[in-house]
């Protein structure tokens, strides 16, 4: 078995028994870590693997959360059933919004994505189409239930969230080690060379956005059902910044790095709760220092394993 598989299984085992050792407060912290981890992993596809400067991820998250909330409160459909729809809608939104901007140069793309997330937030506050509930948001979202088993306590949510996280990690790992995953990496490394090698750059960038959005949308559903109330202020640019930072500081393009980043950036401030006033201050300073001293992130992606040892000819090479 590969060493990385062992690490993942060990991590999964550790997480599985976590709730037994944590009180309700800390379980909830871990729940938040889990949600951010899923979101950051979805952003990682766009920003980490494909190298697209995307600071509007909260917009996809918002669309998913609001879709789920609206359909659930208006039609009474169980929240987990709405999850795929929320993801799909977020994906469609991403497709519409990303297509015209996909060719923009790095910093410009960054600014446009900021503009998008702000427009979405303003639209939500202004109760667009009269369904978003304005600044107060939507309340009364039902809790999820799996086969009749209602999930309402922190440790129940823990397994729901981290279960979904496990599936996410599993699928995204597969995606990374595939033709598609490689295409994203080539695009990140050198777009012109990628095109010259036969890769349809625009198409892959768009699909990266869509995949990231679908996942963020589905995660939004879980968030909505956990909080039972959602409001526009949860989906601001500041949230996008946190996600962006988790990916960059954790290790852009590295799934373990992003998971670590989530634990640190969401978990650590809880550890230093007493110094609440100063934690954002430290956060900002840490970002600057990290870029100066370790800009590849804490756990950058390592070289990939390929099963080609058996293909090496006996006397191959010069």
């Amino acid at each position: 078995m590969k060493s990385s598989t062992i690490y993942y299984l060990a991590f999964a085992a550790a997480m599985a028994v976590c709730p037994l050792f944590l009180n309700a407060y800390w379980t909830d912290v871990f729940n938040n870590v889990g949600l951010y981890a899923i979101l950051a992993l979805s952003l990682n596809v766009i920003l980490g693997h494909c190298g697209l400067f995307h600071m509007g991820h909260a917009a996809f998250y918002a669309i998913g959360a609001y879709t789920a909330a609206i359909i659930n409160t208006s039609y009474g459909i169980p929240i987990l059933w709405v999850m795929p729809l929320a993801g799909i809608l977020a994906g469609i939104f991403a497709m519409i919004v990303a297509r015209p901007i996909i060719h923009l140069r790095g910093d410009y793309l960054l600014i446009v994505t900021i503009g998008i997330v702000e427009i979405v937030r303003i639209a939500l506050i202004n109760n667009v189409f009269d369904i978003t509930g304005g600044a107060n948001g939507i309340f009364g979202i039902s809790r999820p239930s799996v086969f009749g088993y209602k999930i309402s306590k922190p440790d129940q949510f823990f397994y729901l969230i981290w279960g979904f996280a496990a599936v996410t990690i599993f699928l995204l790992l597969r995606l990374e080690h595939s033709r598609f995953g490689r295409a994203l990496m080539y695009i990140k490394e050198d777009e012109v060379a990628a095109g010259g090698s036969g890769i349809n750059v625009a198409h892959h960038k768009l699909v990266a956005f869509i995949i990231g959005a679908v996942w963020a949308g589905m995660c939004g559903t879980i968030y909505a059902s956990k909080m039972t109330i959602i409001a526009p202020e949860s989906f601001s640019f500041a949230e996008s910044v946190v996600l962006f930072t988790i990916v960059i500081l954790g290790g852009s393009g590295s799934i373990p790095g992003v998971i670590l980043g989530s634990f640190l950036l969401v978990g650590l401030p809880e550890v230093f709760r007493g110094l609440a006033e100063y934690r954002m201050l430290v956060f900002g300073a840490a970002m600057v220092l990290m870029m100066i001293f370790r800009n590849q992130g804490l756990l950058p992606p390592g070289p990939k394993n390929y099963n080609v040892a058996d293909l090496l000819q006996a006397g191959g090479g010069k």
Binding site: F53, P100, I101, L104, R105, G106, D107, Y108, L110, I111, V112, I114, G115, I116, E118, I119, I122, A123, N126, F237, V241, F244, T245, I248, L249, E277, Y278, M280, L281, F283, G284, A285, A286, M287, V288, M290, M291, I292, N295
Partner: protein
């Protein structure tokens, strides 16, 4: 018709503010190809420092409103310029050779740092500038009452912009800045000390931003640690609108955006006022990314 004119003058006044802030973005982008996310916070710092100086020194009582404002502006500009230079030295200079994204993240980190520093030092609440010190009167222009502060603000912005334009176009140092913006390598070969040029840009840009912050504080009366965010993003839109890296462009873009926003708020909807700037931003980047006056940034594709 009166309404239109009121909105126009209002838009120009606010636009002047946008222009001053936009100049900071555009100059920094010109020489470093970096979007200084922390620039909006330098604007905020200007507003807060202005308040501190104003209240603590009681200038208005001692020397009268007009000299006080000028002195205040000068002090704020100097202080913010120093902070800008420090910012460059600490957060950006070490990353000159690093990939672009690193500098972007560093800028974000600096922005978060500044905002929270302001919050910690002052307060998360809105702070109020003393109301009764400024002329509230309106003067009568062409039969309409225009608040005198609006005119003063607009004039001040114009004066500062004109000064900058003159500086950039007609002085040797200004030419050095323009040269460094076009090609840093060539500028160095011509004997231009690019490090000093960049530091100068980080003094001038923030100084203008700080002055804008002071004016906003005086005009609107209320300041808050996150005001730099909105103003900053709109100013950045203005810079893009005029053509990033293009100094006259930032001036034109700022004024234009101010007017568009004022008109939009008055005739379309006030609730969506903030969204107007973002829509303009996205439209420009899709339709004409080099801006109205053209991007003055040499970039090899």
């Amino acid at each position: 018709m009166e309404e239109f004119f009121q909105q126009l003058t209002n838009g120009l006044a606010v636009g002047g503010i946008y222009a001053l802030i936009a100049l900071g973005y555009t100059m920094v982008y010109g020489v470093l190809k970096l979007i200084n996310f922390a620039h909006g916070d330098l604007f905020t710092i200007g507003a807060y420092l202005g308040l501190t100086l104003l209240v603590s020194m009681g200038l208005f009582d001692k020397i009268g409103p007009l000299p006080a404002v000028i002195l205040l502006a000068v002090m704020v500009m100097i202080l913010v310029a120093i902070i800008g230079a420090i910012l460059e030295r600490v957060a950006y200079r070490p990353l000159r050779q690093s990939p672009r994204l690193s500098a972007v993240v560093s800028a974000l980190g600096a922005s978060i740092f500044f905002q929270n520093a302001i919050m910690a030092i002052y307060s998360p609440k809105f702070l109020v500038y003393p109301h009764d010190i400024l002329p509230k009167a309106a003067i009568n222009v062409l039969g309409m009452d225009i608040p005198i502060m609006r005119i003063i603000m607009f004039m001040t912005s114009l004066v500062l912009m004109a000064a900058l334009y003159f500086f950039i176009q007609k002085t040797k140092i200004g030419t050095a800045i323009r040269a460094a913006a076009i090609d840093q390598g060539a500028a160095k070969l011509m004997g231009i000390n690019v490090d000093r040029v960049i530091m100068l840009v980080f003094c001038i840009g923030p100084a203008l931003g700080g002055a804008a912050g002071l004016m906003v504080g005086l005009y609107y009366g209320q300041i808050n640690f996150s005001m730099g965010w909105m103003f900053g993003l709109k100013a950045f839109t203005a810079a893009i609108l005029g053509g990033i890296g293009n100094i006259p462009g930032a001036m034109v873009g700022g004024l234009l955006l101010g007017v568009i926003e004022a008109m939009g708020a008055a005739y379309i909807s006030i609730a969506w006022k903030d969204a107007i700037a973002f829509c303009v931003l996205i439209l420009i980047l899709i339709v004409r990314p080099t801006g109205l006056l053209g991007e003055r940034v040499a970039e090899k594709v």
